[in-house]
Amino acid sequence: MIERWALVSGLKGDLETYELIQRDLKKARGVTALFVLGDMIGPERNCDALLNRLQNPRRDELQPQCIYGWWEEQLLAEQGLRGEQKADALRLNQGEEVVSALLNAVDTYHLKWLSSLQFGFIELDCGLIHGSSADIGDNLTSETSPLILIDRLTRLDVNRLFTAHSTKQFHLELTGGGLDSQVKDLNGESQHKQKVSKQSIIGIGAGASYTIYDVGSDKTHFLTAVGQCNTPSKGFA
């Protein structure tokens, strides 16, 4: 059986784009799961309609499985629902106005649902997370040092890490290499060669740019949902 996952992030309240993606997914073959990797909310527009839809999906569409992202964390922190800190990161980077815009963009009715969301999913040997387990705002891209990427995979103990925060779409496979380690302690010396395991980091994109992952073949398809007047564009297959 074909098993394919759709991975979406960074909708920031954009219900229209979400509907376009759902429309595309209906036509795509074999998509069995839809993962929304956070940033469902943002300060640019009112997010209530999208949040309603994610919590109450239509019967004929893929049921979204959501985790929280950087924007959700900022909102929950500001509302006192995450630790002792307020939305300090947001306040520092974008100012008080954006903090209030974010508060205005989400009805407090949704806070309960948002605070119930998980930090990430582990599916098979894959980790699905907004940034990484080191930091929800971890900006992993194809330019990130492979050492950091190996560290992030190691922390979650997965072979594939799907990440969204950078908004970039990429599939970076670790294909080989190694590192010699020599340890000396009071008992003597030991040598060890650690090989690079075959692992991948996949950036899934944001907004209308989303990703379909074919579990059986380990292939990634980078797609962009577009409105009626445009023709859909497709990444490599």
Partner: protein, 271 residues
């Protein structure tokens, strides 16, 4: 020039004095301390006083941080619930004993000290609570040194001294993205780096009861791990007199408590 690096003194005055004496006998006057001046042991003020008096450059350890911040430190520092309970007892006792001046001193310590391409930290560059064990994933270990912008990273916190050389590293990657239809491949060569764990002066857990520290020669890059015998009986008696958990005395006189090894080497405090 040679310099000595000590860590995890843990309020064990007899061990601290013995190690400082050993360093002095070798004609070394340059000492860096990686923190954990207090905790577990019976002489927190005496040890902090001595370090202040000798003006030893110090990083802040996990215990030093917890004593001043209150126990909001992560419980994940403790490998078991029992260890955690005992740790809390020791924390409370130490917090009561420490003078305000000594608390202020611990609060003023930096989380890292840099000397050119050498970085000194307590746990890791990420956190005072992260354990860099000798068998940690080599790439993740190298990432810690690279993140620190260092050639050599000195750490403590595990109470097990070691020197780890990471070399001849490379990583091959294949990249696909939206702009390349054919995957591009590249190979990255990794730099050679060193991690030195200074062990523990006052709470050794490397398999023997001796205090440990390291001597670093910054010309040759050589690191020697040193063991120093000290009067354990003196410290054990002081632990019992202070009313601290007896297990701390037992642990010092046996040198190792299997149950209290960190289970997850790459664990990072999410606090």
């Amino acid at each position: 020039m040679k310099h000595a690096v000590i860590s995890c003194l843990h309020a064990n005055l007899a061990a601290v004095k013995a190690v400082l004496n050993d360093i002095d006998q070798k004609g070394i006057s340059d000492i860096t301390c990686l923190g954990d001046l207090v905790g577990y042991g019976p002489q927190p003020n005496e040890v902090v006083d001595l370090v202040r008096e000798l003006d030893i450059a110090c990083c802040q350890g996990c215990w030093d941080e917890d004593i001043i911040e209150g126990l909001n430190a992560c419980e994940c520092s403790y490998p078991s619930q029992l260890a955690e309970k005992r740790g809390h007892l020791a924390h409370q006792w130490t917090a009561e004993q420490l003078t305000d001046i000594n608390k202020d001193f611990l609060a003023s310590l930096p989380t890292s000290i840099r000397r050119d391409r050498i970085l000194f930290v307590h746990g890791s560059p990420n956190s005072q609570h992260e354990y860099l064990l000798p068998d940690m994933n080599a790439f993740a270990a190298l990432e810690r040194v690279e993140k620190a912008g260092a050639d050599t990273l000195f750490c403590g916190h595990t109470h097990q001294p070691y020197v780890r050389d990471l070399k001849n590293g490379s990583i091959r990657v294949r990249l696909q993205n939206t702009s390349n239809h054919n995957a591009e491949e590249k190979e990255i060569n990794l730099p050679m780096r060193k991690i030195v764990n200074a062990g523990s002066v006052g709470e050794p857990r490397h398999g023997s009861t001796n205090a440990t520290y390291v001597i670093h020669d910054d010309v040759t890059g050589q690191v020697e791990i040193k063991e120093v015998v000290y009067d354990i009986g003196l410290t054990c008696q002081a632990i019992i007199d202070a009313g601290l958990p007896r297990i701390f005395a037992w642990r010092l006189s046996h040198g190792f408590e299997f149950a209290e090894q960190a289970e997850d080497a790459s664990h990072v405090c999410e606090r």
